[in-house]
Symmetry: C2
Subunit: 259 residues, 2 copies
DNA sequence: CGGTCGCTTGATAATCGTCAATTGATGTGG
DNA sequence: CCACATCAATTGACGATTATCAAGCGACCG
């Protein structure tokens, strides 16, 4: 992890790593203040740990490029990925209440982030309380996402989970104004499996199967979505994971033909 | 749902429903302000819906007594309980970002709550910004809990899930200073199953089994925890759900003997 | 008193995890 | 530069966990 401190007298210069990565509805003066509060940029390569679960909560991090996984660690060493974070997302807020980080944050790819110390954040909040509003908005949004992840983990079959994940990622990219029909999974099959509550093998089989059906093209971690409708059919629960080639009752094969 | 408006000139009187239900670290003047902002108390009976998912976000609710389930609804009508809320907890915050509630909130038992309109909340925030800090703290805490629920849903077996749930509820009551070794589940087996990502039948079997082992006493929805250690053994993954009586390899029966 | 609802318990089956073997890609050291 | 080790991914066979289906029972309510 390489740290590049940003000298105070240099923080208002352009170009600045925060540029374009802060929420669009931030007013100009506040954006300026926040930008000036960035104390350093950090460069991480794949697998490097940004924060460890349980460590004192001192900083918030803004993803500039790359991606991260948030890993929750059980007492017995089990672990599960509870969220992924991409460019423009804020990381660390779940540690605010207890003043300790609640997850590990680990880079999925070579990544660049901005670091904000909580002290600086709180001093801005003192001058302009609308920032706190933005933070609350972000926390609320994260909470709604976590609840949706719970829904996925608790009520969906393996096929529905994958379909849900792919469609959500597509939508997320669409809303960010980026190319959304072809994107790179930054994570391994195992990491995606952890996030979705499935085994690596199940992920692999489902992706292979989707490719056979011509619904997506899979090349290593590059995904291309060829047709959305069969994915939506999977999401609606119309399809189950076939053990090999199909010898199933017609009812279950119906949605398969959509592919 | 019975609504009891609290006339403005009456809000500073004692006793007030908010008394004792606000965070302990709220300073006196702020507590006073918040108490005076409560616009009504609402009385709900079991099964009544306080808010519907998707409706405009207008109020925050503080549970005074009873309990609630937060139900996330899928597009196709599937539903899953994503959290339970008991006395002293705030409900509705996940709707702040989108300005729409993200879940249904439904009473698990006859319940009493205080209603705060967001307009009133925001006016207090204008006068004393430490309230916003408290809200952010609460959101952060909720986020950490949701992430832990994800961990449970994604990485635990049925036995671990139940053990985790019971031990967490016990700890929650302990920290609230209430009797914690004997408590009432306000929810049905089916509701608990929904929350834990299990079927009603699995819940029933596991509770029966725990009772046979003498670990807990179960009487309808009343739970008494007789010994914690076997529960912790279950949580650590030492035990699996036996299909009938046991004819298992010794390794798997080891922790069972702890009971 | 009949009916619904919540719960229990058993039998059966399906989804998905585990284990294993193989391949290709990547990187490292001789 | 090649051999070797390691890691991610694929695919198949098998089995376990847990859902589903079904029947029965007690409690509560109208």
């Amino acid at each position: 992890m390489k740290r590049h401190p940003i000298p105070a007298h240099f923080r208002s210069h352009h170009p600045h790593p925060c540029d374009g990565n802060l929420p669009a509805d931030l007013n100009a003066v506040l954006r300026q203040r926040v930008t000036e509060a960035a104390e350093a940029t950090l460069e991480l390569s794949r697998g490097e740990t940004l924060v460890h679960s349980g460590m004192p909560f001192k900083h918030l991090y803004l993803v500039v490029s790359g991606g991260f996984k948030a890993v929750e660690i059980g007492e017995d060493g089990q672990s599960q990925i509870v969220s992924f974070h991409y460019a423009r997302e804020l990381m660390g807020l779940s540690g605010f209440a207890q003043q300790r980080y609640t997850t590990d944050l680990i880079a999925l790819a070579p990544s660049l982030i901005c670091e904000f110390s909580m002290a600086a954040v709180e001093s801005i909040v003192g001058a302009d309380r609308s920032l706190l509003n933005h933070l609350l908005t972000y926390a609320s949004e994260s909470l709604a996402r976590a609840e949706h992840d719970q829904f996925r983990l608790g009520s969906m079959s393996a096929t529905q989970k994958i379909a849900s994940f792919l469609l959500h990622r597509q939508e997320q990219l669409r809303q960010a104004g980026e190319k959304c029909d072809q994107f790179e999974l930054l994570m391994t099959r195992e990491e995606l499996g952890s996030y979705l509550g499935l085994s690596m093998e199940t992920i692999s089989r489902l992706l292979s199967h989707l490719q056979e059906l011509g619904v997506v093209r899979v090349d290593k971690r590059l995904i291309e979505i060829l047709s959305e409708d069969p994915l939506r059919a999977w999401l609606d629960g119309a399809v189950t994971l076939p053990t090999s080639s199909c010898h199933k009752p017609a009812a279950k094969r119906a949605a398969l033909k959509l592919a």
